[in-house]
Amino acid sequence: MENQINRQEYNITVYTENQIGLLNRIAIIFTRRKINIDSLNTSPSEIESIHRFNIVITESEDVVRKLCRQIEKQVEVLKVYYHTNEDVIWQELALYKVSTDVIAEKVSVERLLRENGARVVTLRKDYTVFETTGHREETDNLISILQPYGLIEFVRSARVAIIKDSEGFNAKIREFERLEPGEEVIENEYLNKGEKVFTM
């Protein structure tokens, strides 16, 4: 149970080719070991054709290091880094749907929302959607505040994280892409043409 004591949140940053199936290849490295992925975000990176995964798990450093080596071993993975929360700037985005009547009636709600940095995204007769970004505790906090006023719906995004000390490898990867541009993904272009294709 030694590992239990040292477990903490780690932010794993993975730079990859944009390939179909790679998400699964990376995900099964965790699921095979019965490790839960707390949060997973994929997006294009700052570099054209290179994708970036942000994965958050709660584990000991030893386990995280081994996982990162297994991820980096995958053919289409360029580079993997792991960092503690102290080493990254991170944010999660949350949306809250609340009845517009309630907000109109209770001035305190509007004040609470403003205090928590929420912005209005959509304002309709029947409901209003607010948005906040921040750490987990902050977005969680607003849920408990809105709950008594009839929170209709809530959703939170995966975590996105920027590494504080990332200048060096960023330059390297940019250079990489400049020298060897990535390939375009070929998706199945036949699916919409089913009835026009002769088969047996």
């Binding site: 199936g21 081994k66 080596r69 980096e72 990489f176 070929i186 199945n188 699916l191 089913g194 294709v197």
Partner: protein
Amino acid sequence: MEVAQETLTAPEQKAAIELTGSQALLDALIIEGVDTIFGYPGGAIMPIYDALYDYSDKLNHILVRHEQGGIHAGQGYARTSGKVGVVFATSGPGATNLVTGLADAQIDSTPLVCITGQVFAHLLGTDAFQETDVINITTPVTKWNYQVTDANEIPEAIAKAFYIARTGRPGPVLIDITKNAQIQKFEYKGYTPCDHIRSYRPKPIVRPQYIKEAAELINSAKKPFIIWGQGVILGSAEQEFKAFVEKSGIPAAWTILGAGAIPTGHPLNVGMLGMHGNYGPNVLTNECDVLIAIGMRFDDRVTGRLDKYAKQAKVVHLDIDPAEIDKNVKSTVPVWGDCKETLPMLTALVNHNDHTEWVKLFNEYTQKEYDAVIHTELNPTSPQMTMGEVIKQLNVLTNGDAVIVTDVGQHQMVACRYATLNKTRSNITSGGLGTMGFALPAAIGAKFGAQERDVIAIIGDGGFQMTLQELGTIMQTGVDVKIIILNNKFLGMVRQWQELFNSKRYSFVDIQSPDFVAVAAAYGIAGKMIDDRKDLPSALKQMMENKGSFLLEVMVTKENNVFPMVPQGCSVAEIRLK
């Protein structure tokens, strides 16, 4: 078709010609140097088989009896030839039948390229006939896989497949090709083998600093010990390895997949590691001061209880796969790289030494093991034969030059322990996955991969029944494979565990067998059954001298145990001699 054929294998095509995806695939295989394909046709791979009809002079397609047999044959071929094994299967059940072999090849680092047919691209995800999500099923058991839906992708996908399969730490690759892509005609601009993928680094960069540190550690060691694995063979570094061992004078022991990299009789080859390995190598792992691991991955069958494994030793770990360094055993000096490159660098820096006293200690343990276990196993006085004496007799006939293919279980451990191996790529077995049913098809492939060598499959009565349909492949191809069934009328290894750890509660290990010789005869394969010791030498001789395949069934003692043994959960130093 004729026009296409004539211009097919020109290395660099200037003007594009029109080919189907299937033709482009086969052209790619020829340029990659493929001569043998193990496969089984079916609906979704029919266009490829149709194209193959015109290529049968260049590509020898072996029709197997089951796709699992096909992939194990591909593995056997890859292991003896050092080339990439190629396997064809159709979609759905054809592809799922490959999964055991893929998992086996993945864990044992065997280079394979498997081509599976797939339903038309527009039918993907519609539960079409014989449609299976092969890419996702095989993702955990392949080094890389890719689905081709357009013929234009075929040359590049195949080039990447071969490059990935054979470079770095080798492994199986699967390319799933939809039927439309196989049929589709496209402008074929020739085939360029792949030598680079930007996101893939097959070999880590060698760091001279670590080589230096490793050499210093080795030079200062009083009781250094080398343990090597298949990495030496996969890297074709047998000579480099031998030079290192001989210059440093360090005793060296092997994992079962590393067996044969240096000959059995080499004075510094002190034997086998692991659960049923030799006494000295196991006990002295926990007494050495520097442990030098080369191209091996500290499997649990080698290490026994990890928290009591070589804790006193400083560890130098040479491996091509960075993920293996510090995975199970923490290294003092990690030597990342291909051992073909790192070993000569290390050899240059280590001192000439002979470690006489230390090597003597290994020999003393060998003597103890001989007295307690080996002598009775090889020279039994019991009325029934032992597995060990069969291997001993076989050694007399092979002189250690044959390829020994084993299945999984007691006979595997006995064969690995006692077979004389004088050449590399001689011990073909399912190490990591422990796949029963591996040996018969793997032996067929092994023979195709090393036609000039004798190939002997040693199989238990249980494992043989898992893939015996491949006798049909032997019948049809006329391939010369010698088969020895060591029949103890039990699933012996499980029975041994039940005897030792489950108070002899023999739960479903009492397996009945058909008349194996009659089964072989039904396939037109000569055979013989013996149950008397006096017939053993002549029967083995008859088998070896027989023109063509031969099945020899040897009835061996029913309740023999393989010793020494490191019981599960015990340290290697707690190895039992009885």
